[in-house]
Symmetry: C2
Subunit: 432 residues, 2 copies
Amino acid sequence: MNPMAEQWNEKIRTANAHVHDMLSGLGREIYFPKEGILSQSAEATTHAKKYNATIGIATENGGPMHLNVIQDKLSAYSPKDLYGYAPPAGKPELRAAWREKMIRENPSLEGKAFGNPITTNALTHGLSIVADLFADSGDAVVYPDKNWENYELTFGIRRGAKIVNYELFDADMRFNAPAFRRALLEQKEAGKAIVPLNFPNNPTGYTPSVAEGEEIVSVLVEAAEAGINLVVVTDDAYFGLFFEDSLHESLFGKLAGLHPRILPIKIDGATKEEFVWGFRVGFITYASDDADVLTALEQKTMGIIRATISSGPHPSQTFVLDALKSPEFEAQKQEKFLIMKGRANKVKALLDSGKYEGVWTYYPFNSGYFMCLKLNPGIPAEALRQRLLHEYGVGTIALGETDLRIAFSCIAEEHLEDLFDLVYRGAQEIGQ
Amino acid sequence: MNPMAEQWNEKIRTANAHVHDMLSGLGREIYFPKEGILSQSAEATTHAKKYNATIGIATENGGPMHLNVIQDKLSAYSPKDLYGYAPPAGKPELRAAWREKMIRENPSLEGKAFGNPITTNALTHGLSIVADLFADSGDAVVYPDKNWENYELTFGIRRGAKIVNYELFDADMRFNAPAFRRALLEQKEAGKAIVPLNFPNNPTGYTPSVAEGEEIVSVLVEAAEAGINLVVVTDDAYFGLFFEDSLHESLFGKLAGLHPRILPIKIDGATKEEFVWGFRVGFITYASDDADVLTALEQKTMGIIRATISSGPHPSQTFVLDALKSPEFEAQKQEKFLIMKGRANKVKALLDSGKYEGVWTYYPFNSGYFMCLKLNPGIPAEALRQRLLHEYGVGTIALGETDLRIAFSCIAEEHLEDLFDLVYRGAQEIGQ
């Protein structure tokens, strides 16, 4: 093993042996080269006042060389904020701004010990970093039966982890804490589980109530007390889009500092929150009471970023940072939030109006982009999807046998009634 | 194994069993989900003429929802080319434009069968995709002793591959074909090798002559004839920056269609060629005479992109595409090329002028961003680097015991003589 990797492993082991045990084989092997080209370059940036001949880019007139056909259209930004490499961990000012935002929007983080957010190529990249650093072949990844399909590729196929699903809702359509508890405690013998918590949930648009959030936390503590090391990943992709009286914070705040066998990791980003999906700007943040653990995990994260994409897109990071700093940002974001909330409320009003009876129920939703219909027996989701698409020109997503996901995020409020009328008509026709 | 993965494997096996044998365990397991959310969304894009409620973004007024604080500064571009997700394989128009450019700049590709370039988060990402799809623990990755340090993390640490180095230059400072041949033929028992060919080379700035290129190709054919399956990766990061009478094409063109045991893969990108390092736009392209092999490898590549970053940055892809389409692009690029060539020529003239005697020789260079001094015995590279940095404010990169890398890409032509004078002075002082 590389001596630098071993050194960081030793620091983690000394501070918290459970976290050391959570690392995958790759998580132990990976490190960020301190004596390599990047760190010699960094040293030169500080000291090479006369000539810096270390830089792996071309320069001209004291800045990055660039073509005017590009710069002319991006003239609102300085070449230095567009063309050079962003650091592997992201632009420092962006990381600082995101950290401030995180604390402002999650008051439960006050006084908790957690690291500086590390910039990722958006949320999938954050999840794949977790998979690389923590998932070995056969490790259990415990998440609900209503989930984002890409977990399967990221954790299951790529890392050979074992997927363990539990039922998200009980018969009364509340969070199924007993099922969650059972799925976790089943991992007692293995002594390890990776637990993604995705709220607002994709595909259902569900966020737990405050009381349900407390139940989730207490199940996690019970599993940790039972000797299971838990890598708990809050997948906060749709953070902030809370339209009702649910939790309005990430559970990351409650989990930080909670138990030595719980390693909380926050995965979030600008993509959905700031309506910049294609920009690919996300973050991964670790919580630990030990500064050495935070530094070691940051180094290992930079190592895996260096080994997979080297760095994320610099223009995107600049655009997001600039937006976060703009005095009009909050007001403009609030305006869009109200549009989304209007759509969610309208969907709920329609579903509760009594006009659609006898073909479906629906899963709880109060947040995010989506809601899911649960179709009655005799109405297969895929058949309904096909009929809606080809008879009515209406696109929906079929999930499993019974569920139809509808993204209200992309339908104007005044069209929602017509949309659900058509879905209802299709369901009636299929059910006959 | 997933049935879709198995289906693609079977198509590869039927068309070329050697390519099937080259795949890693992960390479066999990975697939792009055809019946998942992305493909249902794609179907809806075609047929949902009335309402498309599949889209995982928010829309408004027929386009992606966005904040004016961002759009006001990017007004030269349409919101649809910035905010939505780019497809996992990249913007189709960008891929088509890059393919045209590839053929225009590599006439040896004429009439050869090769796939559509797939967009990556730049060159490291392309290399990490090769590592994921083709490198298993213990597989040999054969590349020269003068190399880019990140190969070690990407292939060695991440995938557990065995690094096999050969001497890039012989005693006469020519490409060391016998050493390359020996290193390859040593893999006969294992029957497999991954062979990155990085020309212009980082760190030396060396590109083989046409005759040396032919030698490299004939060594590869000899190894393939000996029964070794070869994943040959042309790492064309610095493509196009050819300042002398070397090869001016990627060896990918010569390798396409050459031998059933040779799978040529081209890794290239806009980052260095178009002076947009931080944009993170690269490409991976496979060559095969069989269309099924090309489709299967494209599907597997999309699968691994989906599982790691989901998609690359959309704004960057838009900016690069726009530049490629601009009528002024070629002329502006040529202008920058001439500046770089002026710097390279000046460095060579200085080194050959006779004014620096007795402290160093230099490795052949004729291309790219860099050149490497080979310091005489008694002048340790790290000691010289430190002295230059702290005494003279000059930043350089020390590589191993004897080599000092100097990036002429970032030093204006009129400063090069002063720079080398200082390096010479430092070397004399160290050597005393």
